[in-house]
């Protein structure tokens, strides 16, 4: 197994649910409770040094329980490695701690995940809608939101 996943398992044996390296991408599914510690470890550990938070997104696995998944993609400038960290969230409690204290650049990605999926990031300084207008109702990237739903406009009736 890769060095990243080895060190992660060594340090957080109880929190890592599963790992895989399919298609060449190291991936670890972790529990959400200590996510900030896990991410800080990945950033600070001298063997790993993941100083770039490249991406954060949510995925809606409608029909599975837990329903939502938060996916972090990290990159290490010095070691030139990538890792994917995932955490599952239940439908009625889609809350996870914010990672803004680890990488300030992840701020807007979390806002987008809130906007599109309704995933709440506990402790986020400004969790508001970012892509859609403020009065928008619903979280459109959820699988149960109809794709071609029209919104109210000013002007004549459609």
């Amino acid at each position: 197994m890769s060095i990243v996943l080895d060190r992660l398992l060594e340090r957080f044996p109880a929190d890592v649910v599963s790992t895989h390296s399919n298609f060449g991408d190291d991936t670890a599914l972790v529990r959400r409770e200590r996510i900030v510690e896990i991410l800080s470890f990945l950033r600070d550990d001298p063997e790993l040094l993941f100083d770039f938070a490249m991406d954060l997104t949510g995925v809606d696995y409608l029909g599975e329980e837990p329903r939502f998944e938060v996916v972090y993609h990290l990159y290490s400038l010095e070691k030139k490695r990538r890792v994917r960290i995932k955490a599952r969230l239940h439908e009625d409690d889609p809350v996870i701690d914010t990672a803004v204290s680890v990488w300030p650049g992840i701020d807007w990605y979390e806002r987008e995940a809130w906007d599109m999926y309704g995933i709440v990031f506990r402790g986020h300084p400004n969790l508001k809608r970012i892509l859609l207008y403020e009065a928008f109702e619903g979280h459109p990237l959820r699988k149960d939101y109809p794709k071609a739903k029209r919104q109210p406009t000013i002007g004549p009736e459609e």
Partner: protein, 166 residues
């Protein structure tokens, strides 16, 4: 009754109506407001560029203030967040004004049939000329400007006059 004009450098005179004269001046000095949101904006830049020169048609003075413009060239997708902005800009423009809807997204939503894209700007503002294409060639934009010039020349009613909602 017009005097037969001989092209020998001598001066002459022609008779016309005030409307035709004003229309002649108006059509060759259109001030477009390029409301360019998306990819069509790049083709608008190409149309105003040196190869497909829009200055030949008199419409090269691009004004970014709605108070100073008379053609609203909507180039690109308008979504529900941008729609009130566009409507406001349209309302701020002074009469007489014309609207060109450029590209598939502005005409009818394009191939974005979803929760966020307005399916055509004619849902909220009156449109005079539609340019199909995704994105249309700069030649299409020039064609649209020429059509607007024809509308002005013939004195045809503008879309805003036919629009039922005030």
């Amino acid at each position: 009754m017009a005097v037969k004009r001989v092209k020998d450098g001598a001066s002459g005179y022609a008779l016309t109506t005030l409307e035709s004269l004003v229309a002649w001046g108006r059509k060759y000095s259109l001030y477009p407001f390029t409301f360019a949101t998306a990819c069509c904006g790049i083709e608008v830049m190409g149309a105003f560029g040196t190869h497909y020169d829009m200055a030949r048609f008199g419409a090269e003075v691009v004004r970014f203030s709605p108070r100073q413009a008379d053609v609203l060239l909507v180039a690109g997708t308008i979504n529900y967040k941008m729609a009130p902005v566009m409507k406001r800009i349209y309302d701020q423009m002074l009469d007489p004004k014309w609207v060109i809807s450029m590209g598939a997204c502005a005409c009818s939503g394009g191939f974005y049939n979803n929760y966020t894209v307005l399916q055509g700007i004619d849902k909220i503002i009156p449109v005079d000329v539609y340019i199909p294409g995704c994105p249309p060639n700069p030649e299409g934009i020039i064609d649209a400007v020429v059509r607007i010039q024809k509308i002005i020349e013939t004195g045809a009613p503008r879309a805003a006059e036919r629009w039922p909602i005030k």
